[in-house]
Symmetry: C2
Subunit: 347 residues, 2 copies
Amino acid sequence: MPPRVTTLKELAASLDLSITTVSRALAGHEQIALRTRERVAQAARQAGYVPNTAARTLVSGRSGFVGLVLPIRGPNLVDSFLGEFVTGLGEGLVSHGADLILATAALGQSELSVLRHVVESGRADGVVVTRIAEVDERLAYLRERGFPFVAHGRLLDSDFAYNWLDTDGAHAFGEAFDMLYDLGHRHFGLVTISEPMTFRHLRQDGLAAAIGRRGDPSVRLDVATAPRFDRGARIQAINRMLQQPERPTAVIALFDELALTVMEEAVRAGLSVPRDLSVVGFDNVVASAYAPPGLTTFDASIRQCAREIADMLLTVIAERPTAPLTRLIRPTLVPRASHGPAPQTRS
Amino acid sequence: MPPRVTTLKELAASLDLSITTVSRALAGHEQIALRTRERVAQAARQAGYVPNTAARTLVSGRSGFVGLVLPIRGPNLVDSFLGEFVTGLGEGLVSHGADLILATAALGQSELSVLRHVVESGRADGVVVTRIAEVDERLAYLRERGFPFVAHGRLLDSDFAYNWLDTDGAHAFGEAFDMLYDLGHRHFGLVTISEPMTFRHLRQDGLAAAIGRRGDPSVRLDVATAPRFDRGARIQAINRMLQQPERPTAVIALFDELALTVMEEAVRAGLSVPRDLSVVGFDNVVASAYAPPGLTTFDASIRQCAREIADMLLTVIAERPTAPLTRLIRPTLVPRASHGPAPQTRS
DNA sequence: GGGAAAATTGCAAACGTTTTAAATCGACGT
DNA sequence: ACGTCGATTTAAAACGTTTGCAATTTTCCC
């Protein structure tokens, strides 16, 4: 094993060249003679030289890192979202030689303050922001600061120009309605959350628009709402919906977790899915494939989205485009066995 | 909003102090007058000053980062492992003011070369290494390099001293056997993989040891082996096991993914779980709670383990202990409905 | 062979922080 | 009034890299 060369100075000395020349040679500058460039590259490879990130960052102002502030999560089950998202980001970044920094918010520390720290400390050249609220202080900060970022999700306020990638929940919910309508369903249930998240807004709007397009006055929609993390309230709201005298024949849930609860409660109430009740979710979490009879849902291909977000962010960092980059990804229907024709007779 | 102060120089100028004094004041050195320290702290807070990471790292040699090289993953489903692991690491690190760097291996690039790059570039003060193979070149490199690390998992070679945290799979598999034996089972099946992973070794040893402890010659163990990522071969091996004239009454799978396949194939073969066949897994993936009738398995509390790994690594970095730090975590049995008494009669 | 132009290489400053060693300032005792 | 001591502050070097500008070498033409 050759003696490890750790600095440019050492490498330069061993080649009898100046630090400047070696630095430029490694960077591939044309002004350095080809022969020299090759000689340097060869020596660097053989000596296992890796440039010091801190020094490079300090002088160039570019760290080669992209930051992600981990959403604060309760002690309950972690789904596969984070893993897929992080994997996708990594895949997107690695092709451009960038890496990912994960910053965690301490207990009682706001996500914004962590974000601010990441930005101000110069650790990252840009950041990815997830789970956008309808009005989001993180985006306001980043925009004021003029710091490169891409949001996964959207704000409600459309005056505010920024880079985002989002899944087209509105379209998916319209598709879900159309599919169920064509199967004969006329009485629908929507299970949703009470928090002001943009995705809730958009999906509900998409559903309402699809209903409107049919212009069928016999279509009826019941809505069950509960706080996002209050499982008890959620179950209660769902049961209220299912146990009314005229219950819906098809339930669309804002996301799979809610849909799975609907299926559980339906079974508990003696209903058969999909014979008595069709259920459709959104997200395609792993469990939706295993929960009988198999949940029909939409796949947003998180990993692929994250990869594109990484690409977008790297573009923003490198080119600082004036017009914002935006991408709306259409999720794909994953038809399983939780939906079917509307029951013929009603009690 | 006050004009943003970005460097120590600016902050020092605004306070009419030297850079040195401000730096020391912020670091809380006793030698700086208490009054001055307070004045500086106040000014820094108000101006939103955040020290530049690169500069600090360059001079101090400490980056405040811990590295993790993402295991290369196929295109198939990502379970929640990575998300939980990363969340746990973040939680463990944040209390000490450290953050996480995630490096991804590009297609065709070895995990080792990425690790080497992370280490040599000085981006991280220590690294976490997951999915340890029976003989692992990554650990060999880190040890030779004298770089701080903690492994999640173990090598087979016990001469090699290093810091690790592992789940006690041997104990769990012993526990599974004992539980099933006490339920009357005598004919067992083991579904495992053909790759040389230490955890496979340990779990199988734990099972063998438990069998030995009973000293009951009527106990019989069939083994079905398939490559880890070859779903077809896996299904074939499982069916061979289930369709032999005298099939096992209880199957223990190396991990949940295998156990879920066993349950699926059992149902397909007309067997009822747990009436005709008991199945036990390991990992407690999310799907195991949803796959009917509910898979009995072991929970290794990944998130908590990751948190402890972070603690261990920070200790190693700060104190460079001479004796290796090791922790063996006992997983907890999650009894669901996939196991039961051995069937009475045999065809 | 002389000079200019082109090609190649090198010097030195800069990035923002930490840290060693030294300077400054008061106070106090003699 | 002088030296001394302790408390407080500061100047300057260092970390390893990139880069503007200048220096050196080579090439080429007349």
